[in-house]
């Protein structure tokens, strides 16, 4: 961490402090904890596990697609692979990832609170998450599910003979964990801000979390009821989605995407929040156009609810409805554009360091940009007719979800790792890994755009031979990507034991989370902080030291 270490607080390693980590060592003290930081760590464990599972599925998918014949696994198995890959990655990894791990850990600290508004509910939501995961895992091990992560009927209701209900129930259950997290955050942000922490002083990560929570609260219940209907349709078979009995399968698609389109913003808004933090810190400049970035998060959350029909342009939906949905899809692209421009402008005349979080953040901007711009291809009605359900779509959403959200997640992991664990990781390795991820990612998914435009449909386990070359490139890329992802897993774990002790503020950053020790004490601050400055007001080294950690008597006022 060459440029990183700013100062080692005098009180540093010498006196043994109580931190949230050593405040209790028993298993019980973890499993019954009400501390939002510990709950964040619990989520981290769960989420990492499912990312690993999802990654294993991805690896098998890419292996199978090396050859056109479909010789590694059977058709049925392949269908289960991509279904479970999609389900694990979205519902059990990406949706909870940043909100439940970093949101939980940081949000109360960032606003200067002792905890979230409802700590018990917070712990409950982790248990709900694990229960849902249990159901989904049961389904996975008992034989899997093969409907695609979208569960379209009548296939899912009348034809699939795999574990649809157990999986659906699992997702239904995690849905409630997502709802409760969102509810908790909204109330926390409204009622628990420290004195002086006005709305416009909030870090942009908090704004992004707020917008995300709105979507979680308003969208997830619809998914829940939809999955319930599918499960009941499967058991009772009364025809609510079955055309033979007078139902309409397209109604399911409306209900599903009413949630699942906004859900893609659940996946990317927190990532945008992370990127705002990182860009500011490593440029040492306030985010250009703070209010625009803040409100664009809200705009995305609101407009995001109006565009779901863009997944149904060829579904036999009305042509006119298609036009409305397409039009609004373009409206939702504008706030994203505003963010991208403002991030770039923030770097102008900054003091830019190339620490690994910043590398991830810059990677995010580039890849999200491509992902977002190809979203514009898909929202263009006439063009989507051709590329719908091809690898073009697959490439689009991996660019936004992996190139975007996953990179931001990794960036967050590196940025806040010293805060969470009190240890520094080997920066050289981290930069190298970031580079490998970036290269591997592009090699994996860029060829898929071309494949998609050529007409390669998604969810194909055997394909026509002329597509092979591009598939091979993609699989090669995936193995590079896998290396890039395994590296952090190794060196981060290594740093837990061997990493140098982290100071309170290794980056000379501004958020309240850096004004408390690393790792933070159980109550976050020794005294409720009083905030008298705006977000991202960078100060010189000397000034920072005078302010010192929040809660030390008599230094909370700015000089």
């Amino acid at each position: 961490m060459s440029t990183a270490v700013i100062h080692t607080p005098a009180e540093g390693a010498a006196e043994p402090r109580t931190t949230y980590l050593n405040a209790g060592h028993t298993l019980k003290s973890w499993l019954l904890t009400l501390d939002h930081k510990r709950i964040g760590i619990l989520y981290l464990l769960g989420v990492s596990f499912f990312f690993l599972i999802g990654g294993i599925y991805a690896t098998l998918i890419r292996l199978e697609l090396l050859t056109p014949q479909g010789d590694l696994v059977t058709a049925q198995t392949y269908n289960k692979l991509f279904t479970q890959h999609g389900i694990m990655m979205t519902f059990f990894f990406l949706i909870p990832s940043i909100p439940a791990v970093f949101g939980n850990f940081l949000l109360p600290i960032m606003i200067g609170a002792k905890d979230v508004a409802f700590p018990r509910l917070n712990l409950l939501s982790w248990y709900i998450y694990m229960t849902g995961a249990l159901f989904a895992s049961y389904a996975m091990f008992a034989g899997g599910v093969d409907t695609g992560w979208t569960f379209y009927p009548p296939y899912s209701t009348n034809y699939a003979n795999t574990y649809v209900i157990a999986t659906g129930l699992g997702i239904f259950i995690v849905g409630f964990s997502s709802i409760l997290t969102g509810l908790n955050f909204i109330v926390t942000i409204h009622t628990m801000r420290a004195p002086g922490m006005t709305w416009y002083r909030l870090p942009l990560f908090v704004w992004a979390q707020y917008a995300t929570s709105l979507i979680q609260v308003l969208g997830t219940p619809v998914l829940a009821i939809t999955l319930l209907l599918v499960a009941l349709e499967r058991t009772v078979g009364v025809g609510i989605f079955d055309p033979r009995l007078g139902g309409d399968p397209v109604l399911f698609q409306h209900l599903f995407w009413f949630y699942s389109h906004p859900a893609v913003y659940i996946m990317v808004l927190p990532a945008m929040g992370v990127v705002s933090e990182i860009i500011a810190t490593f440029s040492r400049k306030p985010i250009f156009g703070y209010k625009f970035v803040a409100f664009s998060s809200l705009a995305i959350a609101v407009f995001g609810f109006l565009v779901w029909g863009h997944h149904m342009f060829t579904s036999s939906q009305s042509v006119y409805a298609g036009m409305i949905f397409s039009l609004i899809s373009y409206a939702v692209a504008i706030p994203s554009a505003i963010k991208v421009f403002n991030w770039t402008a923030t770097m102008y005349r900054g003091s830019i360091s190339y620490d690994s979080p910043m590398l991830y953040a810059m990677g995010f901007i580039g890849l999200f940009l491509i992902g977002g711009l190809t979203g514009l291809f898909l929202a263009a009605l006439g063009l989507d007719v051709h590329v719908h359900d091809t690898y073009f779509v697959v490439a689009h959403f991996h660019y936004v979800m992996v190139g975007g959200s996953l990179l931001a997640y990794l960036g967050a992991m590196h940025y806040w790792w010293p805060k969470m664990t009190g240890r520094l990781y080997p920066e050289g390795w981290a930069r190298f890994a970031a580079l490998v991820v970036f290269v591997g990612f592009n090699l994996t998914f860029f060829p898929q755009f071309i494949l998609g435009y050529l007409g390669m449909p998604r969810r194909y386990y055997t394909y026509v031979p002329e597509f092979q070359l591009l598939h091979v490139l993609s699989s090669v890329g995936a193995s590079i990507l896998a290396v890039g992802l395994i590296l952090p897993a190794i060196y981060l774990l290594w740093s837990l034991k061997r990493g140098p002790i982290a100071p309170a503020d290794p980056w000379m950053a501004t958020g309240l989370e850096w004004r408390t020790s690393s790792p933070p004490p159980p109550e976050n601050f020794e005294r409720t902080p009083v905030v008298t400055w705006n977000a991202y007001e960078f100060r010189s080294k000397e000034e920072t030291e005078v302010i010192g950690p929040m809660g030390k008597p008599d230094v909370s006022e700015r000089k």
Partner: protein, 227 residues
């Protein structure tokens, strides 16, 4: 929300109901009310999915829905509407007496609310058993002698899904009321601290509102085309 620390320090230590991470009771009350409202929004969307399905199929099959609704008992449905609205009144009064600190009346009205809720559920059970005897439970045993049995089945399916989910909420509500009665009896609530009563009241009224829509949509759709 940004209370100065001085005031925070005062109310903190004294009240036993104040959780450690809140500065004062006011903040705690605000949080729980807000939390409940947000929860109710998720409930709106949850029921909303069913209302959406209802709207679509009703607009596709208006006659069938009208005919099928004749199999519902408007009298029982009407009585239940009255029962539920009355329970909303008693709940509102319970909140009132918790605010003014009249513990006996608080308990009285909570009990009344609970009883009315149970009455509602009892009538619902009667209705369900009628449907069961008439073979109107969707699924393999569904029997319907009117025209278009399949579409009628969708109607009954929605009927059971919506009223069933509603009844589930009533059952949960009854559980909450029991807790409230217990704690009220233990003297837990006072004019300073009664947000559990208030928040549960919000929930109870919401459940009432759902029924206010279910009654005309399910029971009254076909009233005028008697035949």
């Amino acid at each position: 929300m940004a209370q100065s620390e001085a005031t925070a320090q005062h109310s903190v230590v004294h009240h036993p109901a104040l959780a450690h991470h809140f500065e004062n009771l006011e903040q705690q009350r605000e949080a729980s009310t807000l939390g409940m409202w947000i929860f109710l929004i998720t409930e709106i969307m949850f029921f909303g999915g069913l209302f959406l399905a209802y709207s679509i199929y009703r607009s596709w099959y208006p006659q069938v829905f009208a005919e099928a609704s004749h199999h519902l008992d408007i009298v029982l449905g009407g009585i239940n509407t009255v029962v539920l609205i009355t329970s909303s009144l008693t709940m509102a009064l319970a909140v009132y007496y918790s605010q003014v600190g009249n513990q006996r009346k608080l308990i009285l009205f909570l009990v009344l609310t609970l009883l009315l809720g149970l009455t509602f559920l009892g009538i619902k059970v009667v209705e369900y058993s009628h449907k069961f005897h008439d073979g109107l439970i969707p699924g393999v045993h569904f029997r319907y002698d009117g025209p278009n049995p399949q579409q009628a089945q969708i109607f009954f399916w929605l009927y059971f899904a919506m009223t069933g989910l509603h009844a589930l909420h009533m059952i949960i509500g009854a559980g909450i009321l029991s807790f409230l009665i217990y704690f009220a009896w233990r003297g837990r609530y006072s004019p300073e601290y009664h947000s559990p009563v208030e928040v549960s009241g919000l929930y109870w009224h919401f459940v009432d509102i759902v029924w206010i829509f279910l009654f005309p949509l399910l029971y009254l759709v076909g009233f005028h085309v008697k035949g």
